[in-house]
């Protein structure tokens, strides 16, 4: 089975100025999807008012 590609996220460590950009972890991707769904619902609710 082909690996699912998740979006990238950038982490900027402000104490070391190290910047890494990597694929989201499963947990991060799950939250990312929840955020997207919540936002869709929010827009729909406000547009309906």
């Amino acid at each position: 089975m082909a690996k699912t590609t998740k979006p990238n996220i950038k982490i900027h460590d402000t104490s070391t100025n190290e910047v890494i950009e990597r694929e989201m972890t499963d947990a991060e991707f799950e939250q990312y999807q929840i955020d997207q769904q919540n936002d869709l619902a929010r827009w729909a609710q406000i547009n309906a008012e």
């Binding site: 990238n8 900027h12 955020d35 919540n38």
Partner: protein, 246 residues
């Protein structure tokens, strides 16, 4: 023997003999000299004198060094370092379209000041700024909008972060000159909530320029050490600078 009112210098009595006049003058002169010196203890250019605990005796405060300011220490004047202030860049860079996290934020400043320049979202979404990865409904806000000819205000309590938009009207995806500045006040206090104020301006998809002031709070008690910047939908573009402010 008579004495003066304020400093108690000995002066000749009316009945004293003229032959004792020279001695009386020397005695008076010596007393005046001592008093004047006690009142003017400065010895060096820039010295300052201030009242001591002893009557009619001042204390010498030597001149300070370049940049020092006059302050009070232990109830008396003293030279000290000027209070530091200003802004320090903690991080800067280009936003990643699906999310940028500023981590390990120094707790050494009074406030945080975040600036986004030329930012836009290429879809019908909002800019979302989340603190400490906290997805709770802990981001109350109120907004004053000035967009087109219909300024108004609104308020609420967001889940998952502060959101910045103009009543969900999509941003113009190619617009430049959009700007957001956000201050997190007293963010390092581990025993308090964090208040926030932001100003942002951007061009909407209908070419109306949205100019918005938004205040709010992160109501979870504790210091802020992580800021996540993302679009709630679509991709986010632009640059960021995070300052520590004292």
């Amino acid at each position: 023997m008579a004495t003066t009112t304020n400093y108690g210098w000995a002066t000749p009595d009316n009945t004293d003999l003229v032959k004792d006049g020279a001695l009386a003058i020397r005695t008076l002169g010596s007393s005046v000299d001592t008093s004047v010196k006690a009142l003017n203890p400065e010895t060096t250019l820039g010295d300052i004198a201030y009242r001591s605990a002893t009557a009619n005796t001042n204390t010498r405060l030597p001149i300070g060094t370049t940049g020092q300011v006059l302050t009070v220490s232990g109830g008396v004047p003293a030279w000290g370092s000027a209070a530091s202030g200003g802004m320090t860049v903690l991080a800067s860079g280009t936003l990643t379209t699906t999310g940028t996290t500023l981590s390990s934020i120094s707790q050494s400043y009074k406030n945080l000041y975040l600036v986004l320049e030329d930012y836009y979202i290429n879809s019908a979404g909002s800019l979302r700024i989340r603190l400490n990865s906290d997805t709770g409904t802990v981001y109350p806000f109120s907004v004053i909008r000035s967009s087109g000819t219909s300024p108004f205000n609104t308020a609420g309590n967001n889940a998952g972060g502060f959101t910045f938009d103009d009543v969900l009207i999509q941003m113009k995806t190619s617009a430049s000159g959009n700007h957001l500045s956000m201050t997190l006040f007293d963010y390092a206090d581990t025993a308090s909530k964090t208040s926030m104020f932001a100003n942002f301006v951007y061009t909407r998809n209908d070419n109306v320029i949205a100019s918005i002031g938004q205040n709010g709070a992160y109501t979870t008690t504790g210091a802020v050490n992580t800021i996540n910047i993302a679009a709630s939908a679509g991709s986010l573009f632009g640059t960021y600078v995070l300052y520590g402010v004292n």
